[in-house]
Amino acid sequence: MRVTQGCFSFLPDLTDEQITAQVQYCLDKGWAVNIEFTDDPHPRNTYWEMWGLPMFDLRDAAGIMRELADCRKIYGDRYIRISGFDSSHGWESLRISFIVNRPQHEPGFRLDRQETVGRNLRYATHAYATERPEGERYSS
């Protein structure tokens, strides 16, 4: 399967050149660029791990691409996303978010159904990636 979170998941994986152009777009808008990674792409997993702080002061796309390259060296087998944060009054949230790295194999999700009262069901989305305890998931 392919996790379709983010702005560009229905397009072929972005090349570094394409990612650079999107990062430059964020910088031109004055947004802070973040890099985050996770092995748990559950749709409600809001807080991916931060690769350092949001880059509030970095105004050069090449610098951000170097950070991305470093992040990939260590976490290349996980999901990595780039987002642009707009601190303007009335927004103060993300303006864009897109996936720039995926594990080679995306195991996806199982939908658990618990039969309850009447015909009601309680649903739980289970990420196969998190089946093993966290300490045993990685070789390193």
Partner: protein
């Protein structure tokens, strides 16, 4: 036309009998509206032979304190404060016989936080007033002091995006078709295919409530199976607007509670339920972490004709106060009424924190929103993937694009139709952000994206010649070069 006040003062003002409205204090050309005044702009078309200033003063009178004759009981009140004051009358450009009347209302005339009360004055009696041929409420300036008495959108654009984890592109939706007749089980199939294929939302149509072919509980149960299944298949948040519109508030609360119990992130209501019911549902939505979608069913009966009724820009303002999160606001290029400039005005009213006066967009007043949440406009009706560049250009990023026929009518099925729309959208956003002239290169960008996406190629082929080029009936009165002082 904006001459001196002719208001009768002192005890002569209260002599029994009939007196012209403009002499009773409803025409005050030197009045300076206060920052806390509610201001309404009406398009007034008097009957032949009726003095325009008197007609406009009558509108001020009948929408505030006046009746047809002098009453002594006015003297038991601070009558001068409570009289609405028409302070400016001017002819409508290129529309002989019609006049713009600017009328100021003291804030004390209105109950805090009540659209029902506001509208009972402003559009209550006055639209049937005999000396007028026609009357239209064009725009309103709502003072911050009044705006702050309303809850505003239950969720707002920013929090909706945070909850859905979707940023940087319009959201995609589709209304389930056929709008009537599907069983719950078949209905859920459409929802599942569309969401799995790439849409963010599906939507009940305005008239899907609880009919013999599908009880509402069946629809809710099957739809939530579809939503959860699609969410697991894609790893992405999905939703379906469950229409809770019903005959009574009790029924609506029951349906909304069931939607919440099933884990839905959004419910919908129709404009026809009325302002009070809308405000009640907005409060319920805020209390229950629910996004509230409003389908503007019925609005065209009073918004479409320029001579009589209420402009949709006023309805949009009322709905932002009332507290809905989504509102259908036109597509420009689709099958329903929508002049580009007028529609732009509606979108600004939904999404901006401050609307400057822009006559060329039909926006007659500066309107501060005082940090009230933003409302997501929804574009729905006769749009398809081939128009993606135009839609993005005309409507911007914070909008739900709803392709009903444009998803479900795809030759290779609903999921393929959804994928075509999503790929077209993402390709266009990518190109826009790269700095390309996407409006002019749009067809090229789509064709290129279609090379690696068969569903998009097929969609572009099927709908390539579909356009809806009809003249709009509701267009701005001012061309872009005109400026006017308020």
């Amino acid at each position: 036309m904006n001459d001196q006040s002719i208001t009768v003062r002192g005890k002569d003002r209260y002599k029994s009998g009939v007196m012209e409205y403009k002499r009773m204090g409803y025409w005050e050309p030197s009045y300076q509206p206060k920052d806390t005044d509610v201001i309404a702009l009406f398009r007034v078309t008097p009957q032949d032979g009726v003095d325009p200033t008197e007609a406009c003063a009558a509108v001020a009178g009948e929408s505030s304190t006046a009746t047809w004759t002098v009453v002594w009981t006015d003297r038991l009140t601070a009558a001068e404060k409570y009289r609405a004051k028409c302070y400016r009358v001017e002819p409508v450009p290129s529309s002989p016989g019609s006049y713009f009347a600017y009328i100021a209302y003291d804030l004390d005339l209105f109950e805090a936080g009540s659209i029902a009360n506001l509208t009972a004055s402003i559009i209550g009696n006055v639209f049937g007033f005999k000396p007028l041929k026609a009357l239209r409420l064009e725009d309103m300036r709502l003072p911050v002091a009044y705006v702050k008495t309303f809850q505003g959108p239950a969720t707002g654009i920013v929090v909706e995006r945070e909850r859905l984890d979707k940023f940087g592109r319009p959201l995609l939706g589709a209304t389930v078709k056929p709008k009537l007749g599907l069983s719950g089980r078949n209905y859920g199939r459409v929802v599942y295919e569309a969401l799995k294929g790439g849409l963010d939302f599906t939507k009940d149509d305005e008239n899907i409530n609880s009919q013999p072919f599908m009880h509402w509980r069946e629809r809710f149960l099957y739809c939530m199976e579809a939503v959860n299944k699609a969410q697991a298949a894609t790893g992405e948040m999905k939703g379906t607007y469950l229409n809770v519109t019903a005959a009574t508030m009790e029924d609506m609360y029951e349906r909304a509670e069931f939607a919440k119990q099933l884990g839905s992130c959004i419910v919908m209501i129709d404009l026809v339920i009325g302002y009070t019911a809308i405000q009640s549902m907005a409060k319920w939505a805020r209390k229950n972490d629910m996004i509230l979608h409003l389908h503007r069913a019925g609005h065209s009966t009073y918004t479409r004709q320029r001579s009589h009724g209420v402009s949709f820009r006023v309805i949009a303002k009322w709905m932002r106060l009332a507290g809905v999160d989504h509102i259908h606001a036109g597509t420009v290029v689709g099958k329903l009424e929508g002049d580009p400039n007028t529609t732009r005005g509606y979108y600004d009213i939904c999404r901006e924190d401050f609307n400057p006066m822009r006559l060329e967009h039909g926006v007659f007043f500066d309107q501060p929103w005082a940090s009230l949440n933003k409302m997501m406009p929804v574009a729905s009706g006769g749009i398809h993937a081939g128009q993606m560049h135009q839609l993005l250009d005309l409507l911007g990023e914070d909008v739900v694009l709803q392709f009903g026929g444009g998803t479900i009518g795809h030759p290779r099925g609903i999921a393929a139709g959804a994928t075509a729309n999503r790929v077209a959208l993402e390709a266009m956003i990518l190109a826009r952000n790269e700095g390309r002239d996407y409006v002019h290169e749009g067809p090229e960008i789509l064709a290129r994206a279609a090379q690696s996406c068969t569903p998009l190629r097929e969609a572009l082929e099927v709908w390539k010649d579909v356009t809806f080029n009809y003249e709009s009936t509701d267009t701005p009165d001012f061309v872009p070069t005109v400026t006017a002082a308020v």
